[in-house]
């Protein structure tokens, strides 16, 4: 079942031609105009803002490839990662990004700090500023928390994931990874499979991909698709096609992005069983054979092999999961650099 797709984003939102190559010199005053104080979501990012980040990430990748991956750029900047949800990879990624740039990084978890004793988010945020934190990297289980932190504190905020709402650096690293693999994204058919309703990664991917002109298809069981996505009446949502049949969705796809299925969805009664979900929605080789030759598969991790993705695909030639991780550090370095550049 394919719901009708509403009008596409206007022309101005389409991607420019591919980025400048390493060799071509750029004229001066290629004024990279960055004015954001925070990075909270990708909803209202202009194309040129996305391009600045992706271009900057290229330079950061080169730094990461050096024998001594270290630059003095953010010396004197204090970055605090404040994670209300456990996460090894995202936090490590931000920590590495900050350290490679020469910043001081302090990691706080909810467990064991005054946060667990009931200190409110606002209190915590204000305390951090008072001790000199310039940048707050925040992961929180409730959507909207980073906006509160940005409004009520003084630090610059990077959203490392808020509830179901947004994970902008993941969206950006996915764009980077996709483009490096399949070239400019305008007009490409990108399929996002899984629990879209509860996925902040999916939302950020959808916004980023739409902004760069990709044709986005979301696919999953109806109980895991968010209200009104793909509807003509959804004025404030990016245009997206909706499919509940994965075989049909993957037809001629240029790339497939898989989302992690969480155990809680079964207990919440949204799905009858993992087995049924895998049978209908697992990204595996048979299904990928219907996509374009060479179409890559992405996953934000951690993967439930055998559930939303087969082991063969997860570790096979199509998988860009490792590239996503590397690119994640570079993209986060780019974001931290751009936020601090004009401060």
């Amino acid at each position: 079942m394919v719901r009708s797709r509403p009008a596409a984003l206007p022309e101005s939102a389409q991607a420019p031609n591919g980025a400048a190559s390493l060799e071509a010199p750029q004229p001066d005053g290629g004024a990279a105009v960055w004015q954001r104080r925070h990075v909270l979501d990708l909803d209202d990012f202009r194309v040129d803002e996305i391009e600045i980040i992706l271009e900057t990430a290229k330079a950061m990748k080169e730094v990461l490839a050096r024998e001594v991956a270290r630059v003095p750029t953010l010396r004197g900047t204090t970055i605090v990662t404040l994670f209300y949800e456990a996460s090894t990879r995202t936090r490590a990624s931000f920590e590495l990004a900050g350290k490679v740039l020469g910043a001081d990084v302090i990691n706080l978890t909810a467990a064991g700090s005054s946060i667990e004793k009931g200190e409110s988010l606002i209190d915590t945020v204000r305390t951090l500023r008072a001790i000199g934190a310039h940048v707050l990297v925040l992961r929180h289980p409730m959507s909207g928390a980073p906006y509160l932190a940005a409004a009520e504190g003084d630090a610059q905020v990077v959203n490392a994931g808020d509830g179901w709402h947004a994970h902008p650096t993941q969206g950006l690293l996915d764009l980077y990874t996709l483009r490096a693999a399949i070239g400019p994204l305008a007009g490409k058919r990108i399929v996002i499979v899984g629990d879209v309703a509860h996925s902040r990664v999916a939302r950020s991917d959808i916004w980023g991909l739409s902004r760069l002109g990709a044709d986005v298809v979301v696919c999953g069981p109806p109980t895991l698709l968010p209200a009104e996505l793909g509807s003509e009446h959804a004025a404030g949502l990016p245009p997206v096609a909706v499919e509940t049949d994965l075989d049909r969705a993957v037809e001629d796809a240029d790339a497939v992005m898989t989302l992690r299925l969480q155990q809680e969805r079964m207990t919440a009664g949204l799905l009858p069983s993992l087995r049924e979900y895998s049978r209908l929605y697992q990204v595996n080789e048979e299904r990928m054979a219907r996509a374009r030759p060479g179409a890559p598969v992405l996953h934000p991790g951690p993967m439930n092999e055998g559930v939303e993705i087969s082991a063969a695909v997860a570790h096979g030639a199509r998988s860009l999961v490792e590239e996503q991780v590397t690119n994640g550090v570079a993209v986060r370095m780019a974001v931290l650099y751009l936020l601090r550049r004009d401060q």
């Binding site: 925070h38 909270l40 979501d41 909803d43 209202d44 409110s120 988010l121 606002i122 929180h140 409730m142 959507s143 909207g144 928390a145 906006y147 509160l148 940005a150 409004a151 009520e152 808020d162 509830g163 179901w164 709402h165 947004a166 309703a197 902040r200 939302r203 968010p226 209200a227 009104e228 996505l229 509807s231 009446h233 959804a234 004025a235 404030g236 949502l237």
Partner: protein, 441 residues
């Protein structure tokens, strides 16, 4: 006490079909003495109403005064002061206090506080079930005798259909309505309307079906029992349609709508900066139950009020303390204050052309009175009938004002309207012939 003569304004009394372009109202000994085109002063104290509307004092069927138990949010004193500033001279107090109003003692307490500290008339609403727990009926007859004008577990639905049925039947003893907060508990858990905005913001949604199915259940039970059910704070187009059909079929159903559901839609949650590209606000001031819904629902509510499907505008004034709203959206309390902004929001609906000013005034005065038959105990309430209590409000429908937290009389400042401009201001309020509020520019 000498007479008072209110002179020079447009006198609008929908109950009696009175609409005088330049009329006067004479008040004597706390009662309406005369209403006419050109009454002489005769030594009365004159209150100038030039350019203003002169109406019966507003009657609010649904307010949370928070006392006893939650005085940090609001008290009967501060809540009734807010009412007076909003033009309300009668306020029905919902029973979700601590202790709840499920006993004569609790009701007596509220009435005592109202007599001592209240600025306007307070009519208590009693609980449907003991402790509002939804399990056992409260002593409805005793509550009625103590002065309750209706029963509600508001804040919560009466989730168990069997309990609701029994409540409706039992309430027939005292011929008072059961006022239901229509929500299916199994579809609960959301924090805003389920729609594209909740998708965009990544917030769990409350589907329209939750209210519609609860209303349908209540209407079926009303039909079954022949009792009077009053639908609190209706918000969905589907719900309005159900009520319309039920009325058409002759059921004893009445309904109220809040001023905010006549004017604000779910995009309000995204904040005042929406569309300006400066990011989302997750405005907890716009978090309430029932949630703000689509523009189509707002239109249906306005139309439903205009065509009589909905009887009354009721504020659902729900004050909260600062820290209960200055937090993550999921964690924030539900509700907004409404007494002081009711008229302004109502006029926004009038400005769309779908609702007449006269109907709005009717829905704030005699409409609520008729819906709950309040005139049985208080004849003339909501009217300017000669002999009725002299509860009046003078309104300036043109005056623009900006909602400022510090200027609100209510202890609670939780509303999405902070910093926004409204048109329509209460200039003066009289209660029992006494001028309890006046604010001339």
């Amino acid at each position: 006490m000498s007479d008072i003569l209110i002179r020079g304004g447009r006198v609008l009394d929908p109950a009696n079909g009175v609409d005088l372009a330049r009329g006067s109202v004479r008040v004597r000994d706390g009662r309406i003495a005369a209403v006419g085109a050109d009454l002489p002063a005769n030594g009365a104290r004159v209150i100038d109403a030039e350019g203003l509307l002169v109406c019966p004092g507003f009657v609010d069927l649904h307010s949370h005064l928070r006392e006893p138990g939650f005085e940090y949010k609001e008290t009967i004193a501060s809540g009734t002061l807010a009412a007076a500033r909003g033009g309300f001279t009668t306020v029905c107090a919902m029973p979700n206090t601590e202790p709840p109003l499920d006993s004569k003692a609790a009701v007596d307490f509220v009435l005592g506080r109202a007599a001592a500290e209240g600025v306007v008339r307070v009519l208590p609403i009693g609980c449907v079930t003991k402790g509002r727990a939804g399990k056992a009926l409260a002593e409805l007859a005793e509550l009625a005798a103590a002065g309750c004008v209706g029963f509600s577990d508001d804040g919560s639905p009466v989730g168990d259909a069997a309990i609701m049925r029994r409540a409706l039947e039992y309430a027939k003893i005292v011929d008072l309505p059961v006022i239901d907060h229509c929500e299916d508990p199994a579809l609960a858990g959301g924090v805003m309307h389920e729609g594209w905005v909740s998708t965009r913001l990544g917030l769990r949604g409350i589907p329209a079906a939750s209210e519609e199915s609860a209303i349908a259940r209540d209407l079926a039970l009303a039909a079954q029992t022949g009792a009077h059910v009053h639908i609190a704070h209706i918000s969905t187009a589907g719900g309005v349609a159900l009520v319309r059909a039920a009325r058409g079929a002759g059921l004893r159903v009445s309904a109220e709508v809040t001023p905010h559901h006549l004017a604000l839609d779910h995009e309000t949650v995204m904040g005042p900066s929406r569309g300006s590209g400066r990011g989302l606000a997750y405005d907890t001031g716009a978090k309430m139950y029932p949630p703000l819904r689509r523009a189509e629902d707002v239109e249906a509510c306005v139309a439903g009020l205009a065509n009589g499907t909905i009887d009354a505008v009721a504020t659902d004034h729900a004050p909260h303390a600062v820290q209960e709203k200055l937090c993550e959206f999921d964690a924030a309390a539900f509700g907004m204050v409404g007494l002081e902004t009711a008229f302004g929001l109502g006029l926004r609906a009038v400005a769309t052309g779908a609702l007449s000013l006269e109907r709005l005034i009717e829905a704030l005065t005699i409409g609520p009175v008729r819906a709950l038959h309040l005139d049985r105990r208080l004849p003339g309430l909501g009217t300017l009938t000669v002999g009725a209590a002299a509860d009046l409000v003078l309104l300036d429908p043109e005056r623009e004002w900006t909602v400022d937290a510090d200027a609100l009389a209510s202890k609670g400042k939780n509303t999405p309207l902070i910093g926004r401009t409204l048109r329509g201001r209460v200039v003066a309020t009289l209660y029992g012939g006494e001028l309890i509020h006046e604010e001339r520019p």
